[in-house]
């Protein structure tokens, strides 16, 4: 019987999900783009592209290298391989077994407790410290990616004095001479980033004891003013801690508290625990100028210019009956009703609500936020205080004033890069020239290192001793797993040198602090657990003072906003290729930053790409207009990216990119545009800008068009109200209620193992933060491919996050869309379409239900990728691990990416990069297909452990939930659950009966092992526009296709869990 399977057509009514503007408008060029698996030319070698290697010269090179390869027959002898067994045994070290250390990553708002995996002495993977009370075992993006900073091949390797390579002994001699001259320390200053390390504070006191005239300054290049705001509202020595499990109504005003403004993972986890629709769901309101992760999770989102936030808060305060005095007025337009309903909702949840105000907003605006929380009774309820050491340092502005007054002759810059990050009006590079002795300590030879008289290679936190407090106030150690790779000095080392203390190689400095802070407790246990098992000091919060005077800026003209970048923050991770290649969660932009604007603003500026995307050709697909933005007389040329959901007359330009040539490593060279050039000390976050067209074009590498899946109900959502009425709505959506009994031409694989692996992804709690993508990259040795290859659709991420915008009905309206995130890795289909087309059986099914890939069998036909309905297979077009991805020059040939030079490019992985690789996962070479394996190395490790434990018995059971995939372990919102579907006690099996559960493309009978839990929104019914939110079943659609209608949905049915019969009797044809 021949059956032609027709994919169901897209539902014409109801909610429309789209990933970019072109898709929404359904242009012919977009349809053409979609129809191809790869964009034009992606499957071929790009020979005449910007890299300029012609076909002819390529053939010449290939011929020559083939001929040369024959000489010597070197390939016919097996090399003699040697073991290098250690000479002396190392305690605890077992070759082939990982060792785990508890440590913590120092952060501005408080350290993140970690558990670091080391293999043969190399740190290879970072996880959260499950023992720590606030960690939950999860991490965030920066924690996952920081391991690559440790192994950055371009990190600083030597001491540099007066522009010459030098040595530690030379530096120590210089320092001794210098300190002999400073007397009481007047004229000596220190500048560092924010830190809450008690050891550093102790050493600072030691330095001040010896040099009472010395000054310490702190600069936070992200521009956060939260510390100042908290200090002004509650006094010094207090930090805030939130209890979101108690919060029923949350308002985030210009605050990405689930994304870049998140402090630790606890807040995110608490928030997502309250998103379970079977309990009492919280409700989130967001007010922001650009789409953020928090905005995407919000039930109601208000687009508002960042400069209107003070006016918004004043209006809200008025509705809430909080006294707020303001100068100036601004027109909030149609948002008055929004504010009213939001205020009503907040008032209905007195004591169980929470208002976040963005940390970049002026101190008095944040203080008004605290006043509102005070009036709502949240302080002491959802907002708690933690005692922290009081700040004992001046600001950057103080330092600049002192330098200008010629009061500074010696300046220590500790892990800070003010030449790049200081506001442009300080002209810090010029200022530094008037300081006689500048000593810079840092991991990279950045702009400040090059401007300094002496540069000292710094240490990564994985190779030096320190300590810190976590956001909840627990005391944690920062312990190294490896000696400093290049013999650098940590900040603590330098401070103790200055204070005249010895510089120990071990833990002595931290131990001394520990003895004063935690006398009588067990030091080894502190290191083993990774935290001090004493509850943190809770500081009672006393809000002082009435609401301050708010200045409402004029809202005329175009504003520009400078948030820290979601990926590289203030730019210290500029050499981190994982972060560059990670698509931004919202814009899906890689390897760049761009000026984000709304379509309306773009049209008003007459920008070609933005105003006419519907007719442009494929070649111009990624071209963006470059505009010249001028702020306070300083200007910058930067490409524009139209972003749905962005406020009009507002531009967002993330910080951290566009470092000057020569101040970064190979990876960071020429990446992005420097927002710091436009930032001045008077307008550090929002400024008024003038924008003009330049007529230039710039290629942005966006991944949002890649791997499209046409109009199928892939993401499913409803409102809480709808869900209460019809809990199984997700099971019958779209075609899923009409599926006829399916037959398969192929034999189903025998699923004979007792364990059957599966995964559940909860769309309700997934914020799209992308931590899982980086965790997967670190765990599975996934290479980066570089900007040009991303443009060619060749990115390698096994786990991508699909970001959908959604608009109601057939309105082609991208101004106020909703957003849904969907992590997408291999679905491990039981009837996998990829397996049936592989000519060499390189991808086959394992008896525990995995779709496995034997790399050494793969010959690279890419049939499997063609046949994969989820487009989750990745192909190694080049030898990414062995050849340089940056541009190189070979002989007389033109400069081109090392990938294109093939055998002529230098071969071999950088030794440092090699050290990061997970030894339990094959490093793939060119021509091999790869994809998510559910972390088969972890599964095998778990299985082997159970076999070893069983020994001479048949008790082979793998303990329930003892195996975690890397994405699951990293996820801060517990959105991913992995485990054994056949084990009734496992977390994943318990979710099988969840009414929200559905599988993708059910009608294809591929029987995916990954299921999703539909998203539930919790809108406020009184809010304007609430009826459109997540309204997937308009009445009209229901009457046409709903239950009872002719040909309508059948009753809800539970998809078959697994093949009940392992070996179907040959009826399958």
């Amino acid at each position: 019987m021949k059956r032609i399977l027709q994919h169901p057509t897209e539902v014409a009514t109801g909610k429309k999900y789209w990933r970019n503007v072109e898709e929404l408008a359904d242009t012919p060029s977009f349809r053409g783009w979609l129809a191809r698996e790869f964009p034009q030319g992606a499957a071929e070698m790009e020979l005449d592209g910007p890299d300029g290697l012609s076909r002819r010269s390529f053939v010449q090179i290939m011929g020559a290298s083939l001929a040369l390869a024959g000489f010597g027959f070197s390939g016919c002898r097996r090399p003699e391989i040697q073991f290098a067994a250690l000479s002396k045994s190392v305690e605890w070290s077992i070759p082939g077994k990982a060792l785990y250390y508890a440590s913590a990553m120092p952060r501005r708002g408080g350290a993140m407790p970690l558990m670091v995996t080391t293999n043969d002495g190399r740190p290879t993977k970072i996880e959260g410290n499950l023992l720590h009370p606030s960690s939950g075992g999860s991490t965030d993006l920066q924690a996952q990616a920081t391991i690559l900073d440790l192994y950055n091949p371009d990190r600083s390797r030597t001491f540099v004095g007066h522009g010459q390579k030098s040595e530690r002994s030379e530096f120590e001699r210089y320092l001794k001479d210098l300190l002999g001259k400073v007397g009481t320390g007047a004229g000596m200053a220190f500048l560092s980033d924010v830190s809450n390390s008690p050891t550093r504070a102790r050493l600072q006191k030691e330095v001040l004891a010896k040099y009472p005239g010395a000054k310490f300054h702190v600069y936070d290049p992200t521009g956060s003013l939260q510390h100042e705001a908290v200090a002004s509202a509650f006094g010094d020595g207090v930090a805030l801690k939130y209890n979101l499990e108690k919060a029923n109504v949350i308002l985030a005003v210009d605050s990405d508290f689930l994304g870049i403004d998140a402090i630790g993972t606890e807040v995110t986890r608490q928030f997502s625990r309250r998103r379970n629709p079977s309990g009492k769901m919280n409700r989130l309101y967001a007010v922001e100028n650009r789409y953020t992760i928090t905005g995407g999770m919000a039930d109601h989102r208000l687009r508002l210019k960042a400069s209107l936030v003070p006016a918004f808060l004043v209006a809200l305060a008025k509705e809430l009956g909080v006294a707020a005095t303001a100068t100036g007025t601004a027109d909030l337009g149609a948002s008055a009703e929004w504010i009213k309903e939001c205020a009503t909702d907040l008032l209905s949840a007195k004591g169980t609500s929470l208002v976040f105000v963005g940390p970049h907003q002026p101190v008095e605006v944040q203080a008004l936020g605290f006043a509102i929380n005070q009036a709502l009774g949240n302080i002491g309820s959802t907002i708690l205080g933690v005692a922290v050491p009081p700040a004992a340092a001046g600001t950057l502005a103080d330092l600049v004033a002192s330098i200008k007054a010629k009061a500074i002759s010696t300046l220590f810059i500790l892990e800070s890069n003010p030449v790049y990050t200081a506001p442009a009006d300080f002209q810090f590079a010029e200022l530094l020239k008037s300081v006689a002795d500048v000593i810079h300590v840092g991991l990279r030879t950045d702009a400040t290192a090059q401007a300094a008289k002496w540069h000292v290679p710094g240490t990564h936190f994985l190779e030096s001793w320190d300590d810190a407090f976590t956001p909840d106030g627990t005391y944690v150690p920062v312990q190294p797993m490896i000696l400093p790779l290049f013999g650098g000095l940590s900040i603590n080392d330098v401070l103790s040198l200055v204070a005249g203390l010895p510089v120990p190689t071990g833990a002595e400095l931290v131990k001394a602090t520990f003895d004063t802070l935690a006398a009588g407790t067990d030091w080894p246990k502190f290191l083993q657990n990774g935290y001090l098992d004493i509850p943190a000091a809770v500081a009672p919060l006393a809000f002082r003072g009435s609401a301050p005077m708010i200045t409402i800026p004029s809202d005329k003209g175009i504003e520009i906003v400078f948030p820290p970048d979601y990926k590289i923050s203030d730019g210290h991770s500029i050499d981190n290729g994982w972060l560059h290649e990670l698509p931004d969660p919202i814009t899906k932009l890689t390897w760049d930053n761009a000026a984000l604007i709304s379509r309306k603003t773009a049209t008003s500026l007459d920008l070609a790409r933005a105003s006419d995307p519907l007719v442009r050709s494929d070649e111009a697909h990624l071209d963006s207009d470059v505009v010249k933005i001028t702020v306070n007389g300083r200007s910058l040329e930067v490409p524009v990216l139209v972003t749905p959901g962005h406020a009009d007359d507002s531009i967002t330009l993330p910080r951290g990119y566009g470092h000057a040539p020569g101040t970064t490593g190979k990876i960071g060279t020429g990446v992005g545009f420097n927002a710091f050039q436009l930032i001045s000390s008077t307008t550090p976050y929002v400024a008024v800008a003038t924008v003009e067209r330049t007529g230039k074009q710039y290629k942005l590498a966006l991944t949002q068009e890649h791997n499209q899946m046409e109009g199928r109900a892939l993401v499913r959502e409803a409102t809480a109200e709808k869900f209460a009425k019809e809990p199984e709505f997700a099971k019958t959506m779209h075609i899923d209620g009409h599926i006829p009994p399916n037959i398969s031409l192929y034999k189903s694989p025998p699923l004979t193992m007792p364990e059957q692996w599966g995964m559940m992804i909860d769309l309700n709690t997934c914020t799209g933060c992308s931590t899982c993508t980086i965790a997967c990259q670190a765990e599975n040795n996934i290479p980066i491919v570089g900007k040009q290859q991303v443009i060619n659709n060749r990115e390698m991420h096994w786990l991508r996050i699909d970001r959908y915008f959604a608009t109601a009905g057939d309105e082609h309206n991208e101004t106020e869309p909703e957003m849904v995130m969907q992590p997408m890795g291999c679905q491990q289909c039981e009837n996998a379409p990829c397996e049936t087309v592989c000519p060499v059986n390189a991808t086959v099914h394992s008896p525990d239900g995995l779709n496995v890939m034997a790399y050494n069998r793969c010959i690279g036909t890419r049939y499997c990728a063609n046949n994969c309905p989820f487009k989750v297979r990745r192909f190694n077009f080049f030898n990414y691990n062995e050849r340089p991805i940056e541009k190189i020059k070979v002989g007389i040939l033109p400069e081109a990416s090392g990938l294109y030079y093939g055998p002529l490019a230098p071969k071999g992985t950088e030794e440092l990069t090699k050290m990061q690789k997970n030894p339990n996962v094959t490093v793939r070479i060119r021509g091999v297909m790869e994809k998510c394996t559910y972390c088969i190395q972890r599964i095998e490790e778990g299985r082997i452990s159970s076999r070893i434990k069983a020994g001479a018995s048949d008790k082979l059971r793998i303990p329930t939930d003892s195996i975690q995939s890397a994405c699951m372990q990293a996820c801060p919102t517990e959105a991913i659950t992995f485990g054994d579907l056949r084990d009734p006690d496992s977390a994943v099996a318990k979710l099988l009966d969840n009414p929200r559960r559905y599988r993708l493309l059910e009608y294809l009978d591929v029987r995916t092992r990954t299921s999703y839990l539909a998203r539930i929104r919790n809108p406020n019914p009184k809010m304007p526009g609430a009826e459109k939110i997540a309204d997937i079943y308009p009445d009209e659609y229901e009457s046409l296709h709903g239950e009872g209608a002719p040909g309508g949905h059948g009753p809800a049915k539970n998809p078959d869990e697994l093949h009940s019969n392992p070996e179907p009797a040959g009826a399958h044809h």
């Binding site: 097996r78 003699e80 391989i81 040697q82 073991f83 290098a84 067994a85 250690l86 000479s87 002396k88 045994s89 077992i94 070759p95 082939g96 077994k97 086959v844 099914h845 394992s846 008896p847 995995l850 496995v852 890939m853 034997a854 790399y855 050494n856 069998r857 339990n920 996962v921 094959t922 490093v923 394996t933 088969i936 190395q937 095998e940 082997i944 076999r947 070893i948 069983a950 020994g951 001479a952 018995s953 048949d954 082979l956």
Partner: protein
């Protein structure tokens, strides 16, 4: 009528035939040698930096495998002993034996001894020693009677098909747990092969041994 073919062409078919035969023979020999599991350097017996004799240490002195290969029961790798392990005894015994000069240097300088690797699984195959020795597979099954070797050689092909032979029929090799490190053990009975099959089948059943035969078992 003149000849169409010149005179030299008479021998052409013969020449072609000889060439084809030689080429065919070369291909056949090449494939027979290189493409079969036999080409896995069975018999490879390199010179080691220290003339260590398993025969003396295990067979004559009765040392256990695990004294030196101490992690074989817990780790994927069966470790090569550190110089320190050797020096536990050799700091007292035979300490001036010139054969141990390289060992002494390694111990004094801290540099590793360059032992030549004999058994070598490719990077994409993940063999785990611990799971084998903890489930009744003896060293002898893969390494031969290494306890009687004066200089270690590569005893078994260790190709994928060779692995699968055992993974498909584990009863041929599984033995009681207490005999795993006794390389001279033979099952009692007139026909050792038959006795092994009997005891093996029983153990496989009792211990629920089901060695993986899918790709994911060894390739990740």
């Amino acid at each position: 009528m003149a000849n169409i073919f010149p005179r030299w062409s008479n021998q052409l078919p013969l020449k072609v035939l000889v060439c084809v035969a030689v080429l065919g023979a070369a291909i056949t020999c090449g494939v027979a040698y290189y493409f079969t599991p036999k080409y896995t350097r069975v018999g490879y017996q390199p010179i080691q930096p220290v003339p260590f004799q398993h025969d003396i240490h295990v067979n004559q002195l009765g040392m256990d495998c695990r004294y030196c290969h101490s992690n074989v029961e817990v780790s994927a790798h069966s470790n090569i002993p550190t110089a320190q392990t050797c020096m536990n005894c050799h700091s007292q015994i035979q300490k001036n034996n010139p054969k141990l000069a390289a060992l002494k240097t390694a111990w004094e300088t801290g540099l590793p001894l360059p032992w030549v690797r004999i058994h070598y699984a490719p990077d994409y195959a993940y063999f785990n020693h611990s799971v084998h020795v903890n489930r009744g597979v003896s060293c002898v099954s893969c390494h031969g009677n290494i306890n009687r070797m004066e200089v270690v050689w590569h005893d078994q092909p260790q190709s994928m098909s060779w692995c699968l032979d055992c993974h498909r029929n584990p009863e041929k090799h599984v033995r009681p747990m207490e005999q795993v490190f006794n390389l001279d053990w033979k099952p009692e009975g007139k026909d050792p092969q038959k006795a092994q099959n009997e005891i093996g089948t029983q153990l496989v059943k009792e211990w629920a041994i089901r060695p993986p035969q899918n790709c994911g078992g060894c390739h990740r």
